[in-house]
Symmetry: C2
Subunit: 593 residues, 2 copies
């Protein structure tokens, strides 16, 4: 396997040449003191080092040895503990944390790139700090000052880690059915009892305490999702002076054996009269979770980007070195027994698909992260606008990036031919590890319904219009001859997406099932169109520097061209199927399946 190299130059291009993130930081008072280009650059460079040198080497041992379980104890793979310690000592667990509790307060656009680096190194490893940061986000927003002082500080410092305990065996996508109970105590705390499954980092040996955020129901709670509350349940109780006290009623019953991310402990967690503390308001637990859900879902999309980038780097190195067959236009390396497989059109197709989708995903995820930052740090209209765009585009970040990221890892495996199927080459692990991103944090089917039903249709198309107007403004502004090859197809794609959106907003009134049967295709049409927008913006930025003599910009322009020619047309078939009524799927009775 090739050494993983963080694509720092591309990240810098996206941040400054395409998105002008530095100007945004300066413009927002609550961010201006926190971050500037120098700070961001040194953070990204340092993070790249740890990702390349400490985390990337864990990928294989995490898979081959994985986590082990013995009498309630979970042991991580050799090297994980040391790498986590190095990570903690570097202060990385506090990268996005609140400064008043010891964090660095970096915006999402920076933590997102940091997440990509971690996941390019090893998705499984990234989940331990990842879940901690996610739980910390929820706690920061909804926890009492006391809870934050006691727990958030330690999570930001990396001394303790976090987990999110949502799913139960009978309740995954449908959390309204959970059975875990929380009984109020006289001292204001609760006693939590129930069983949770699929709890990432629910138990492990990386930290001395684990802070679980647990969804549970009060005895008198209303049925369904409106009766869910959120509780903080520590693995080990904390004394008043902040020291660790007695073990709480929390135990790990077993760990799952999975297709991939073997280095990540996926735990069955049992809560038995465990002491817990309410986070936020009673019966508002789902809302508290959704605070961090957009951040987490964008994060899952980014996991796939990291993994797909690594697969691309490996596949490219292999393709350059592997000689097999001859170019169709005559031998390119007549002195060797065969040409490199990079001369073959189908190998180029696979590699360029990966390259265009990876770079497009990186830029689009950064754009979406920027909207989350507007939502967090801006005020007034700018805040509202960021909030709308982030809510609209988050399901695309989660589902579209993971679907195409999985596709890319499969392509990266295919480039290797038979060697791609052999474990030691590493490409097959990236396929297995990336597969989970299409499933967890809300399956991609759930994301598609979130986009189409809860966002686009529920807002009667108004959320969509916010996005469409921005793209239209860009198209109007970019009428130069050299941008025509990008802006022309973008305008066409946007008009088609507008029409499809109108069709679905209207059609689903008469045919509600159309939402379900169109959602997946609609999300992908939207994804390819949004990616065309960001590729057009990248083309513009690269054209501005095309005479710099730096090949990077030539590569960017040609990859943009590839995206428009070869990938954007995928939307055409999807529009066809997304526009159809639901009857062809729903006229089939259960017995006829």
């Amino acid at each position: 396997m090739a050494d993983y190299r963080v694509p720092l130059k591309d990240m810098s291009f996206v941040l400054y040449d395409v998105l002008q993130a530095d100007e945004m930081w300066q413009s927002l008072p609550s961010l201006a003191d926190q971050v500037d280009r120098d700070t961001a650059d040194s953070i990204l460079q340092e993070c790249a080092k740890i990702a390349e040198q400490e985390i990337a080497p864990l990928l294989r041992v995490g898979d081959e040895v994985g986590v082990s379980f013995n009498e309630g104890k979970v042991t991580t793979a050799p090297g994980y503990k040391e790498a986590f310690q190095t990570y903690v000592e570097g202060g990385w667990t506090g990268l996005g944390g609140l400064p008043e509790y010891g964090g660095m307060g970096m915006p999402k656009i920076i933590t997102a790139l940091h997440e990509e680096m971690l996941c390019g190194g090893d998705i499984a490893f990234s989940l331990y700090p990842g879940l901690t940061a996610g739980a910390g986000l929820s706690l920061a927003k909804h926890g009492s000052d006391e809870l934050k002082e006691t727990y958030l500080t330690k999570m930001i410092s990396g001394e303790w880690t976090g987990s999110m305990c949502l799913t139960e065996s009978h309740a995954g996508s449908d959390l309204g059915m959970i059975r875990t109970k929380a009984v109020p105590q006289e001292d204001g705390s609760y006693r939590v009892t129930g069983n949770k499954i699929f709890i990432t980092a629910g138990e492990h040996d990386l930290a001395e305490n684990i802070v679980h955020l647990v969804l549970a129901k009060l005895p008198d709670a209303p049925a369904g999702p409106r009766g869910i509350s959120l509780f903080l349940v520590p693995k080990i109780n904390v004394n008043d002076d902040g020291s660790l006290g007695e073990a709480n009623g929390v135990s790990c019953g077993s760990i799952e054996h999975k297709m991939g991310i073997h280095g990540s402990a996926t735990c069955v967690m049992n809560f038995d009269d465990a002491k817990g503390y309410l986070v936020g308001e009673v019966n508002k637990g789902l809302a508290c979770m959704f605070t961090m859900m957009n951040f987490e879902r964008v994060g899952v999309g980014i996991q796939a980007i990291g993994s797909a980038e690594r697969s691309y780097q490996n596949a490219l190195e292999y393709a350059k070195e592997r000689i097999q067959g001859r170019s169709l236009t005559g031998a390119k390396s007549p002195d060797t027994a065969a040409d490199s497989i990079l001369v073959h059109g189908d190998v180029r197709r696979m590699l360029l698909n990966m390259k265009a989708l990876n770079e497009g995903s990186r830029a689009l995820s950064s754009y979406i992260s920027m909207q989350l930052d507007y939502s967090t740090y801006a005020e007034g209209e700018a805040q509202k606008r960021g909030d709308t765009l982030a809510a609209l585009l988050t399901p695309i970040a989660k589902a579209f990036f993971t679907d195409i990221g999985f596709e890319s890892t499969v392509a990266g495996q295919q480039v290797f031919g038979g060697h791609g199927f052999i474990r030691e080459w590493g490409q097959e692990q990236l396929v297995r590890d990336t597969r989970i991103t299409q499933i967890y944090e809300g399956t991609n089917g759930i994301q598609a319904m979130d986009l189409l039903a809860r966002k686009v249709v529920a807002s009667k198309g108004t959320m969509f219009t916010v996005f469409a107007d921005e793209v239209k403004a860009f198209i109007s502004a970019e009428q130069s001859a050299e941008m025509a090859e990008f802006v022309g197809p973008l305008a066409e794609a946007l008009a088609d997406l507008q029409q499809l959106t109108d069709t679905l907003v209207a059609g689903s009134q008469k045919d509600p099932n159309m939402l379900g049967t169109a959602a997946n295709d609609y999300l992908h049409v939207f994804g390819y169109t949004a990616m065309a927008y960001i590729w057009a913006r990248m083309a513009k930025a690269a054209l501005a520097k095309q005479d710099s003599g730096d090949d990077f910009y030539q590569s960017k322009i040609k990859t943009a061209r590839y995206y428009f020619a070869r990938l954007l047309p995928r939307r055409i078939s999807l529009i066809n199927t997304a526009s159809q009524a639901s009857d062809v799927l729903f006229d089939i009775e259960e017995d006829l399946f």
Copy 2:
């Protein structure tokens, strides 16, 4: 995991209602004595039993325990040996074998369905008899009577198994570069020396001898593919009386650790001055291999069908039982806490994609197998026509069925949500096992080039015309009102495929690289169109029985409708990209990747 049930009713529908295979058998003198409907039915029913009861239960142990290697010896997973013995005792190793050497002489259309059953049970297990049958085919066609008497008889009886030794570490798709040497001896035999990799069933404990067919070069052979000869190299030398003699210079150096099919021994094989016998003519080794290649490649396509069918059965059972959320049109099961997930449009989309692709693949693979049978058993024009259609459609069987089969197993995993990622549910194994089918026996990229360059363009479109004329004749004959919904879109798809074919035949004269950049998309356009043809034929057969009161035919008609509405449109985007010149891929210099 649901119990695997062989879809016997669908197989029977395809054989008799759609393809009238029984009439074909009667019409060919060399087959009429061999097989009729009664014989075929009892064979399929018995085979279904062994697949369901003996082989399907091995799937998980084959994966979890797999094969092990110790000092040159390979031990298969617990239960494999017993199941193989039962399989041998049932006479199944001789199903397609020459009757004069003890085989049953069944046509490919029957052995193909038998292969699907085996692979629905366990692809890994199927490879031991599968490779034996493949090697036997080559030997039957090109081996001397003496070699056939000594070796083929034992392979057909199942006492010995076979392997195909082609790939070397530096020579996979490009076999012209192999280095294994064969030195002629005075007694007419050869001494074979070299190392082969990725040798399926190269070593194991299921049989007392293994018959390797090995590609090697004579010392004075011409360079490249025209200098390759084929040799039979037994693991253990055979005495003149047919008894086993001394060990030959053949050893297994190691076995590969793979993403899937852990139950299959993928061996590094070392030949060290091993005694071998020429099969066919000197320097015509590749041609001897290609004799069986069409059979084998269709077989690999069928592996994916078997696996995808099993994934569908599992996913359907899960979808019916799993309750989560509510129908968009109001609760369907108001008395339970939630509706079954079959009420959700996106779950239906995934299941119906699987169902329509699986049934379409089964019918189309049977149609292609029938062409192989015409090629083998017919004479004159009918033989020539079968030969042409089989050669044309074989790469589609291999690449299209495995690409959509892999897609189906991924969908079948997705239906399970988080449980799909957990090993014990079995769905993730089907994804891993099926993935190899896109790679081995010629990667799908190689298949696409075989179809477009070696078949369609090299014949200047004439091979394509044979297929197109048949579809046109069907369309002309089926102008009834009830067939219009199928025949209309089929005619459109065929016209588009014709136009794309013309574009590529003409375009590749000026732009040879266009073959490589268009091949994959072209193969899929062809695949979806050919599948539309067979779905239209299935619709016709089902419409003829729609008043029978049997739900099977209603299901078939509705699934046909689904195929035309939701899957056939995929070709539109693919036609767009397949029609493009190659420059957007080839204007990118190696350094810009």
